[in-house]
């Protein structure tokens, strides 16, 4: 099969998955009782409730309600967020910027550190760096993010006295334009050095808390995949050619070991996304995750639905990209598929 066909095939499945997800999300919210529960009060008479339900189309048959909702999602009408007291669409970009800044920072750290550490450990199998990589990866996978974040706060905030909470100094950023919504980038664009340092300063701890688990996952995969690749015959063949060990590792072992790791990086992006909910609560980061947590606690269904849909579509797209990359890296996969 051609790579093009493979990619096409994957893209064709995508809408099916998105529709499937949306049906699940929709069903969920309808199982949990009336979606307008948050806006009702005990004083309302049944007639008043019925009137409201009629206004929002809640007396329609479920398939019609689903289509109405799905149509809204597609056209940009994502409903009213009770938590934010504003339309979901209006609040979304701001929060998204905050979350993206956090996750991208964490992802960059996790991918580079994970691959580096995994390679370092895997290439020195059963020696000290390897044991370190193993212990690190297992403890990282077992680490509750909420506890790790709090530990960071206790150590750096209570213990050392520097605990930047929240996203940044509001005054600093009030005067800066926000073309990207990412404070670090915005401050660079504005040439405001002080704002940049402040943005980084606030970003460090949450990004570490968020990226730790993902780093561990990538480290583990990279290590085991490299160990496996190192025992392949073509690695011996490369040595038999007289290549220096560095080159054997870099060109022959690491390159092939990266192939399965790429998939895991895609999957661990989900881990990163779900981590934002907890990290944003702990560090009072004004992103999508905290918004979602609030919405969950207060039954703000429009926000929940929008958030879950958005996250899963993003997750699917990232994994599609990863699959395509995988296909390019390892042509045999495509041929065998």
């Amino acid at each position: 099969m051609q790579i093009r066909d493979y990619v096409l095939r994957r893209m064709m499945v995508l809408p099916i998955l998105i529709i499937g997800t949306s049906i699940i999300v929709f069903t969920l919210t309808r199982v949990g009782g009336s979606p307008i529960g948050i806006y009702l009060s005990h004083e309302m008479t049944p007639e008043e409730v019925a009137e409201i339900e009629e206004r929002y189309g809640l007396d329609d048959p479920l398939p019609v309600q689903y289509l109405t909702w799905a149509g809204g999602m597609l056209t940009g009408d994502w409903g009213w967020s009770g938590v934010a007291a504003a339309p979901v669409r209006q609040v979304f970009p701001d929060k998204l910027g905050a979350t993206m800044e956090l996750s991208v920072a964490a992802a960059i750290v996790a991918v580079s550190l994970g691959i580096g550490l995994g390679t370092y450990g895997g290439a020195r199998r059963d020696r000290l760096p390897d044991h370190f990589a193993r212990v690190f990866s297992i403890s990282g996978a077992a680490m509750p993010i909420f506890w790790f974040g709090i530990l960071l706060l206790i150590v750096f905030g209570v213990g050392l006295g520097w605990a930047p909470i929240g996203r940044s100094d509001a005054d600093l950023f009030a005067s800066i334009a926000h073309p990207t919504g990412l404070y670090t980038v915005d401050s660079i664009l504005a040439g405001n050095w002080r704002a940049f340092v402040d943005a980084i300063w606030h970003l460090v701890l949450p990004a570490i808390a968020l990226g730790f688990g993902t780093t561990a996952i990538i480290t583990r995969m990279m290590r085991s995949s490299l160990v496996e690749t190192m025992s392949e015959e073509y690695v011996d063949a490369a040595r038999a050619k007289g290549l220096p060990e560095k080159l054997v590792l870099r060109r022959h072992a690491r390159r092939n070991a990266l192939i399965p790791t790429v998939t895991v990086i895609g999957l661990s992006f989900g881990f990163l996304l779900q981590g934002t909910v907890v990290v944003e609560i702990i560090f009072r980061w004004p992103g999508l995750g905290r918004w979602m947590a609030d919405a969950v606690l207060r039954g703000d269904q429009a926000t929940i639905m929008a958030y879950v849909m958005f996250t899963s579509v993003l997750f699917l797209l990232v994994n599609l990209a990863v699959d395509v990359m995988y296909a390019y890296l390892d042509r045999r996969v495509v041929l065998g598929a």
């Binding site: 099969m1 066909d5 095939r9 064709m12």
Partner: protein
């Protein structure tokens, strides 16, 4: 052989008829899926119309290189895979078999209603994938398989007692202590013993595992055994043990073997008759001595001359074949071997694909080829990106760059700018023809090949 083993068969469980089995016109095609929608784009013709019989008590050797379809054929015979067309028949009388052969000689659309009814009747009674359940069970018991990789064919989580005793259990022939005793008998029969009953496969050496496999196959007292490369994973010294054991069992129990292998020295040692396969077809079949001393198909000849034998003169060079085995999804026309045949003639099925293959090996030419418009397999227009490439092809087709035989088969070469029209003499598929008593070969020539 002990009385218990011999008497184990349920009454009437043995095979009847004059042949152990008869393979008639058997084909197995596997679909190739392509494109974003995974549509079936073609078929790998793993086995493509193969017929031969196995008489009772004889060993038929099935030889060929990897990808020739011998394993697929073996799976069809053992009932593990259903054929795409044709089939495996048992319980046939000679008369029935001859009639079957006659019917299959007529192409499917040319058969009259009477033939169709007759075929249907025979199929219903004798074809292993069409018969009634009761009959099928009888065949199942009587046709057992020994696989190539003994380790993979033994469940790693089962003890030897469970493995060897399982057929008896499935057919409710023994249980409890009686089962254990029967298993011990079987183990002793293959040179193992009671001490091996409660061990796992991984605790044995390769040769011992193959013995366990054979013991399991013997449990139901079968008549036919399909041996799929039973010794190719073993070292010579152990291979000799297993081959001796198989011969001994055959003599004592009157077993019939279908021996599938790529190793010619093994097949010469084991087989009464040999079937040589190439690209899903039978190239030649006949008595072992006929094949080894008087091969009539250039492929069998090449195969023999390519495999080193200890008894041969080591100074004589091995015979080598040009090119590689063509894609079984697009088998060559005429004789499938003509693309590599050292004695190919103009009648062997030269076609457009041969030119395309030739272009692939010619620097720069294949990249210049932009389109091939086929009229049929023998006639096509080849369109090139530039005129010089087309001219080069035209020149090549008329010069010694192409095989002489191919040039003779070429009826037309016409160049029109960057477009070259070529046409070869159409040739139909080469059929097996008689070369001696029980000796057939599918070759347009009648050669005595030792003089090739």
């Amino acid at each position: 052989m002990t009385a218990t083993l011999e008497g184990s068969g349920v009454a009437g469980a043995e095979l009847r008829g004059d042949f152990a089995i008869s393979v008639q016109n058997l084909a197995k095609h596997f679909p190739i899926r392509e494109g974003a929608l995974q549509k079936v784009a073609g078929h790998v013709r793993a086995v493509d119309g193969v017929s031969f019989d196995i008489r009772r008590g004889e060993t038929v050797g099935l030889v060929g290189e990897s990808g020739c379809g011998k394993t697929t054929l073996g799976r069809c015979v053992s009932g593990l895979t259903d054929p795409t067309s044709g089939g495996v028949y048992f319980d046939l009388t000679t008369a029935e078999r001859d009639r079957l052969g006659e019917i299959f000689d007529v192409p499917e659309n040319g058969r009259n209603a009477e033939m169709v009814v007759e075929l249907e009747e025979i199929d219903r009674l004798h074809r292993i994938d069409r018969i009634k359940k009761q009959e099928w069970l009888r065949y199942r018991r009587n046709c057992q398989v020994v696989f190539q990789d003994a380790f993979a064919s033994l469940n790693p989580r089962h003890l030897v007692r469970e493995i060897v005793g399982r057929p008896l259990k499935v057919h409710k022939e023994a249980s409890g202590d009686q089962l254990t005793e029967r298993v011990v008998e079987l183990l002793e029969r293959v040179g193992l013993g009671r001490q091996h009953l409660f061990r796992y496969p991984h605790q044995f050496s390769g040769g011992q595992r193959q013995r366990i496999s054979i013991a399991r196959a013997l449990a139901l007292d079968p008549e036919l055994m399909v041996l799929d490369e039973p010794t190719s994973a073993l070292d010579v010294s152990v291979q000799a043990q297993i081959l001796n054991l198989l011969n001994e069992l055959q003599q004592e129990l009157g077993l019939t073997y279908l021996f599938i292998t790529h190793d010619l020295s093994v097949v010469r040692h084991m087989a009464d008759r040999v079937v040589v396969m190439y690209l899903g077809k039978v190239a030649e079949s006949g008595a072992t001595s006929d094949i080894f001393e008087d091969a009539r198909h250039p492929y069998s000849h090449a195969l023999l001359r390519a495999s080193p034998d200890v008894d041969d003169d080591p100074a004589a060079a091995l015979m080598t074949l040009e090119g590689s085995v063509p894609d079984p999804a697009r088998p060559p026309q005429g004789c499938r071997f003509h693309t590599r045949c050292p004695v190919a003639t103009a009648r062997c099925g030269w076609e457009v694909d041969d030119v395309v293959r030739w272009l692939e090996d010619e620097p720069g030419m294949f990249d210049a080829l932009s389109d091939v418009t086929r009229v049929d397999a023998f006639t096509a227009d080849l369109v090139f990106a530039d005129e010089s490439a087309a001219a080069k092809l035209e020149a090549a087709l008329r010069s010694g760059k192409m095989p002489e035989a191919a040039r003779q088969a070429l009826v037309e070469v016409r160049r029109d700018g960057a477009r070259t029209h070529i046409a070869f003499t159409p040739v139909s598929e080469v059929k097996l023809t008689r070369r001696g008593p029980g000796h057939e070969a599918a070759c347009v020539l009648d050669l005595t090949l030792d003089r090739v």
